[in-house]
């Protein structure tokens, strides 16, 4: 059975939607964070798939960028979560709603 580009797309879209659903519905900041990583990786999957499909290396190059950014973002994000936890003793984002009027 030949695995065509559609399979990759469907898997990627599925992962992306799972990520979105997690970001929008979960209350634990760590899980929200992980869901964001999931979305990033679904995008990576798309890029790699298209790179292979089009026979171009640009997509693969781009993935490295995304991974670099994701690593940096993970470091900063986790640091923020730790800082919030130290202040509020919670990582429940319903309790972290100070950005309002």
């Amino acid at each position: 059975m030949n695995i065509t580009i559609e399979y990759y797309m469907i898997l990627s879209a599925f992962m992306f939607v799972v990520g979105i659903a997690g970001v929008l519905t979960r209350r634990n900041a760590i899980i929200v964070f992980m869901c964001i990583e999931l979305m990033l990786n679904s995008a990576n999957l798309t890029l790699v798939a298209f790179s292979s499909y089009l026979g171009s290396s640009v997509g693969q190059l781009f993935v490295f960028f995304v991974m670099t950014v994701a690593a940096a973002e993970a470091a900063v994000g986790l640091a923020i979560i730790i800082a919030i936890f130290r202040n509020k003793l919670t990582v429940n984002i319903d309790d972290i709603n100070i950005l309002k009027w």
Binding site: V23, L24, V32, I93, D94, N97, I98, L99, K100, W101
Partner: protein, 645 residues
């Protein structure tokens, strides 16, 4: 030297800039005073040299225009910074720089120790700068620049001691009053200028005046131009109905009263009328108005002066009265005589004010003449010079005031008839009386001041200017000895000025034929009246002061009216000032500004506020909610992009 006449404008400006910018840091009074006075002194020398050069030239070459640069050039309007050196402007420039220099020197002594010494000299220099622009201008616009400039300096100097009280309010209020009343006059002057440009298509003096000779313009147009210009003159030169600012202008330091509010600035209106003599001469009705306003001002101001007790107030009303004389001269077509009186008046009135300043100085700022008395013993120089000035203003021959005043009276008699002459003589009578009331109450008789006052003669820097002015007051009249005495040469002063006024004098009615006998007779009468008045004042205020008291008791109503200056200020307050204040407050401020303008602003602000109040509900602080919105947004955008392929 005539080509260098711009120096007389530039140097005072330089002095103003130096003292104005660095005066605060110089601090040394001598240096500041030297800069302030020497700039004016050099200007005076330049003017004097230009005068002698002009004098040596034949009559038809005496006019020179020194053009510096083009100022405004818009359409048909072409105004340049050009100064006109001719007989009239030279006379005025000599008065302004000469008397100005003397008063600058005097001020070094008078203002000694003042915390804003430098500011005073900066303003004085700025004043001379503006005044010289006014005098030397060769067009109406430059004249107006000077006109407004002297008004500004007047304002600044009246309010010089802005933290002091003056009568019921502050000196700042007096300054504002002077400025605003002047603005009313300036409005008339502006209208006159517009009308001149409309009629003659130029604002240059020479062009306008030569066109006034050749263009056929209706008498009504001339009348309106002359009337508007005259309204400007009534503001600047303190004539009815705009004279009210001048008595209040005495809030300023005394040298300012001497220089600006007696000798120079207030004569600007007279100068302007004389300069535009051809226009006034073409409007006989307005000439009549000028003469009537002049004699009325002269008369009523003199009556007020009879009862005032503030030494500077008396002199202020005397100034208004003498300015009335000058306008009477203008009105009857005796332009030369009017300018002559400007000159002699500058000498003796500056002297009177400086003498008063010397007295005020000695009496520790006391200005009430009822609290003086017997000061002659303490300050002989001041007393003698003051006496000379008082004699001069009373018109006692052969002092300067006699020649100029009698010439005006003579012209009013021969041109306009006995009524004007009579009013003038009665005014002269009152003038002699209040001047000598002032003199006797101040310098003669018993001492009426407390032991805490220690009057003393002023320093030399103040008395020498007094003496110089006294000499000028004595001999100043001899350059204008009337024809009846001087014989075939005629009146020197008139001969000098005659080219300026020739066109105007040709236009007005022929002088009536009168004998020399009549002229001498009228002269003798007016002198006798003045002398009698002086002796009467001596009798009343030295021999039996009870007379004055009885008199003021018997005519209590009249005395009260005069004391309150005919209630003119109260009348203006009730009829003009208060209605404007009330309307401004209730209509313009509380309704127009408060309701309409502010209301519109508040409406817009409130609208945006309520809009924001409903929109900000979206900012609930839940990050996931924001993310949800974003997802929807992206989904919709993507959907739209995909569908549009």
């Amino acid at each position: 030297m005539r080509e260098l006449i711009y120096l007389t404008v530039a140097l005072p400006l330089l002095g103003f800039l130096i003292n104005g910018i660095f005066g605060n840091r110089i601090k040394n009074e001598k240096v500041i005073g030297l800069i302030g006075s020497s700039t004016i002194g050099i200007s005076f020398i330049v003017t004097l040299l230009a005068f002698f050069e002009t004098l040596s030239l034949p009559t038809d070459q005496r006019q020179l225009i020194v053009s510096l640069f083009t100022w405004l050039k818009v359409g048909g309007l072409d105004v340049s910074f050009a100064y006109q050196v001719d007989q009239l402007s030279l006379v005025m420039a000599l008065i302004v720089t000469g008397v100005g220099f003397i008063i600058h020197v005097y001020s070094i002594g008078y203002m000694h120790g003042d915390k804003s010494f430098w500011r005073f000299f900066a303003y004085l220099n700025l004043f001379i700068f503006a005044m010289m622009n006014l005098i030397l201008a060769d067009n109406f616009v430059l004249l107006f620049l000077g006109w407004e400039g002297v008004g500004l300096c007047s304002y600044l100097l009246i309010g010089f001691w802005y933290d002091r009280r003056f009568e019921k309010s502050t000196t700042a209020d007096a300054a504002k009053k002077a400025f605003i009343v002047n603005r009313i006059g300036d409005f008339g002057f502006l209208l006159g200028m517009f009308l001149i440009f409309l009629t003659f298509g130029s604002l240059n003096f020479n062009e306008v005046f030569s066109r006034a000779n050749t263009f056929s313009v209706s008498t009504a147009t001339y009348g309106f131009i002359a009337l508007f210009l005259f309204i400007g003159a009534t503001g600047k030169s303190a004539q009815i109905p705009l004279y009210v600012w001048l008595p209040d202008a005495m809030a300023g330091p005394t040298p300012v009263s001497a220089l600006i509010h007696a000798a120079t600035m207030v004569t600007a209106g007279v100068y302007m009328v004389a300069r535009c003599s051809i226009i006034f001469a073409s409007a006989p009705d307005i000439m009549m108005v000028v003469a009537i306003i002049g004699i009325m001002t002269s008369f009523f101001a003199a009556t007020i002066g009879l009862v005032q007790n503030d030494i500077k107030k008396v002199l202020a009303y005397s100034t208004v009265s003498q300015l009335g004389y000058m306008f009477l001269a203008m009105g009857v077509g005796a332009f030369g005589a009017g300018i002559f009186h400007v000159m002699t008046h500058a000498f003796f009135k500056a002297l009177l004010f400086l003498g008063a300043g010397s007295v005020i100085h000695a009496m520790h700022e006391e200005q009430d003449i009822q609290k003086y008395g017997g000061l002659k013993r303490y300050m002989p120089h001041t007393a003698i010079t003051f006496l000379i000035a008082a004699l001069a203003i009373s018109g006692i021959p052969p002092l300067s005031g006699f020649f100029s005043k009698d010439e005006i009276l003579w012209y009013s008699y021969s041109n306009f008839g006995i009524i004007f002459w009579l009013a003038g003589v009665i005014t002269a009578l009152m003038t002699a009386f209040y001047m000598f009331r002032l003199y006797f109450l101040t310098f003669e008789g018993k001492e009426r001041f407390g032991h805490n006052k220690h009057p003393h003669e002023s320093p030399k820097v103040m008395t020498v200017p007094l003496i110089v002015l006294a000499v000028l007051s004595v001999i100043g009249g001899f350059i204008g000895i009337p024809e009846v005495f001087s014989g075939e040469h005629g009146n020197q002063f008139h001969n000098w000025l005659s080219p300026i006024f020739a066109d105007a004098e040709r236009k007005i009615m022929q002088f009536g034929f009168h004998t020399h006998f009549a002229e001498i007779l009228l002269m003798v009468i007016s002198v006798l009246v003045a002398v009698a008045s002086i002796f009467f004042a001596r009798y009343v205020y030295l021999k039996s002061p009870i007379i004055a008291e009885n008199f003021s008791k018997r005519f209590a109503g009249l005395h009260k009216t005069l004391w309150n200056k005919y209630y003119v200020d109260e009348f203006y307050d009730a009829v003009i000032v208060n209605p404007i204040v009330v309307v401004s407050k209730n209509v313009f401020w509380k309704f127009t500004d408060g309701k309409i303008i502010d209301g519109l602003n508040h409406f817009i602000a409130n609208l945006l506020d309520s809009l924001g109040a409903s929109l900000r509900k979206f900012q609930n602080g839940i990050a996931q909610f924001y993310a949800l919105i974003m997802v929807f947004g992206i989904a919709i955008t993507l959907f739209w992009i995909i569908m549009s392929f």
